[in-house]
């Protein structure tokens, strides 16, 4: 099928987006409401996925969990892109040691795992959704910086930059006029892939208890709480696990699909 991965990605991301938006205004039940005596019960009536270990409606909780995953994705990717992209463009346009310095600093940051950074943040400022998002965002900066630098270098060596300069465009001004629009597609792909990574990182952080506080519904925390009941009620771990896998897969496929779409050689082949 033509562009199968792109469309699978679009559908999966679409489901997560719709779930997030719908759960803002409506969930079948309050995700934190406890139904007495219903703990670990299977699906019944309106409770289509059954109840968790405290008797809360599982479907509502899976639905509500998409909110945090989207917020974390948007905020951390924005942090990473807002800092990483200018960083990479600067590194691509500057010459000599300033460029080297920028990239070596990015390398050092790259060597620092997001989890470690999050633990550091949690230790310093207490664990919260914000500290998780900031940690993931900062850890993703080097990825954006590298991609932006590589793309900038290829644009800067192109004829139209030379032509723009021959028309009198000052060197640095060409970054805004010509470099940014031409590297935007590559950055879009990177953003999509980073979005998936951010969701995964956030799930890992909440699983470890380093993310959002207990009353905020997150898939990672649901997994962590479900593991105690793994043998009594595997469905409890199954649904948030599937949700995480689906969301991450969706954003990765979307990124892959976009890359194929934007690669002119592949586009010709299609």
């Amino acid at each position: 099928m033509k562009r199968a991965s792109l469309w699978t990605g679009v559908v999966l991301v679409g489901i997560v987006l719709v779930a997030g938006l719908v759960s803002l205004v409506w969930t079948p039940f309050d995700p934190n409401r406890v139904f007495p005596g219903a703990a670990l019960q299977g699906p019944q009536g309106a409770h289509i996925l059954g109840f968790d270990q405290l008797g809360r409606d599982l479907f509502s909780r899976v639905l509500a969990g998409s909110q945090i995953c989207l917020i974390v994705g948007v905020i951390s990717v924005s942090i990473a892109a807002l800092i990483g992209v200018p960083w990479g463009i600067a590194a691509g346009m500057l010459k000599g040691w300033p460029s080297e310095l920028l990239m070596r600093v990015a390398d050092i940051l790259y060597a620092f795992p997001a989890l470690l950074l999050a633990i550091l943040f949690a230790a310093a400022r207490g664990s919260s959704t914000w500290s998780a998002m900031t940690a993931i965002g900062i850890a993703t900066i080097p990825a954006f910086a590298r991609v932006a630098r590589a793309a900038t270098l290829s644009v800067m060596s192109s004829d139209y930059i030379l032509a723009a300069r021959a028309s009198g465009t000052p060197y640095l001004m060409s970054a805004v006029r010509h470099v940014l629009p031409n590297i935007a597609p590559v950055l879009g792909v990177q953003a999509s892939v980073s979005f998936g990574m951010a969701i995964l990182a956030e799930a890992a952080l909440s699983y470890l208890g380093l993310g959002s506080p207990p009353l905020v519904v997150t898939w990672g925390r649901m997994l962590r709480e479900a593991q105690t009941y793994m043998f009594n009620d595997p469905a409890l771990a199954l649904w948030p696990g599937l949700a995480i896998a689906g969301a991450v897969l969706g954003f990765n496929l979307l990124g892959d699909g976009l890359r194929d779409l934007l690669d002119p050689r592949l586009r010709e082949a299609v």
């Binding site: 010459k95 004829d159 139209y160 030379l162 021959a166 028309s167 009198g168 465009t169 000052p170 031409n182």
Partner: protein, 284 residues
């Protein structure tokens, strides 16, 4: 005083032996000077040196004066305002010389707005006028097109419009018709000649095609291995070439003088190049 005076220009890339050595030539206001030579002889490097667009690792020495202003060593902040205004350049490959993400009309209008205070509307009006000058039918439609939506000839006209819109004193054309087929080449050359006349600009026309050269230029510089080996009026160079390399070039172009069935002449029949120092060859 000449418009452009190049004296003892040498260019070296990094620590390699110089690519250009001791280049001397002048271009008078309104003159059409052809620069001819084979690939790698240093034609494009000469053009980029005059434009001040050599890569960072290249060093240019000597003197390039445009209207009395020394260009070598001129800081980019002072040089950039001159480019596109006092001197401009037409590139060989019109597809890659236009930004694929920007409407071509805006790219031309940008050149106006970089150099003179003018509103968006004024720049647009000037651009539409210029697009018409370079024989583009339906300028409105071309203005809003992207480069990939235009044909090769149309793109090269847009590039011409970019180079000419500010009525520069000097236009450097780096093989502007090499990427075009012969009929389109004729049209573009006609448009170029017409507009150079209208603007009164001098032109340094780089080519390796003698036929194209003879259509545009009235003076000619012959370049070989980074040096100018012959210079003069087009007529005298064509009828009475002094340097054996020039004689070879001309002989290879005069196929009508070859007896049928005999071997075609090559430049090597007239001129044996001395052993080259490795690493001096450059692109273009």
């Amino acid at each position: 005083m000449s418009l452009l005076e190049v004296r003892n220009l040498s260019v070296a890339f990094g620590r390699r032996p110089p690519t250009l050595t001791g280049i001397d030539f002048t271009i008078d206001a309104g003159a059409r000077v052809g620069l001819i030579g084979q690939s790698g002889s240093g034609k494009s490097v000469t053009a980029l040196a005059v434009m001040g667009l050599l890569p960072e690792y290249a060093t240019a020495t000597g003197s390039i004066r445009l209207g009395g202003t020394e260009l070598i060593g001129r800081p980019d902040a002072l040089f950039a305002p001159m480019r596109g205004n006092d001197l401009s350049m037409v590139f060989q490959e019109p597809m890659t010389a236009l930004d694929p993400t920007m409407k071509v009309g805006r790219q031309v209008a940008e050149v106006v707005r970089l150099h003179r205070k003018s509103s968006r509307e004024q720049a647009r009006a000037l651009t539409l006028d210029m697009l018409e000058q370079v024989d583009l039918p339906d300028p409105e439609q071309v203005y809003d097109a992207f480069a990939h939506q235009l044909s090769g000839g149309q793109r090269q006209r847009v590039v011409l419009a970019m180079a000419l819109i500010n009525q520069p004193d000097l236009v450097i054309c780096d093989e502007p018709t090499t990427a075009l087929d012969v009929t389109v080449q004729q049209q573009v050359l006609r448009v170029l000649r017409h507009n150079l006349d209208a603007v009164g600009a001098a032109c340094l026309f780089i080519t390796h095609d003698l036929a194209v050269l003879s259509q545009v230029c009235d003076q000619v510089l012959v370049m070989l291995d980074g040096a100018i080996v012959e210079a003069g009026e087009l007529k005298s160079v064509f009828t009475d070439p002094q340097h054996p390399y020039t004689r070879g070039l001309l002989a290879t172009a005069r196929l009508d003088q070859v007896a049928p069935g005999s071997r075609l002449p090559t430049v090597a029949d007239f001129y044996r190049r001395p052993e080259r120092t490795p690493g001096t060859e450059v692109a273009g």
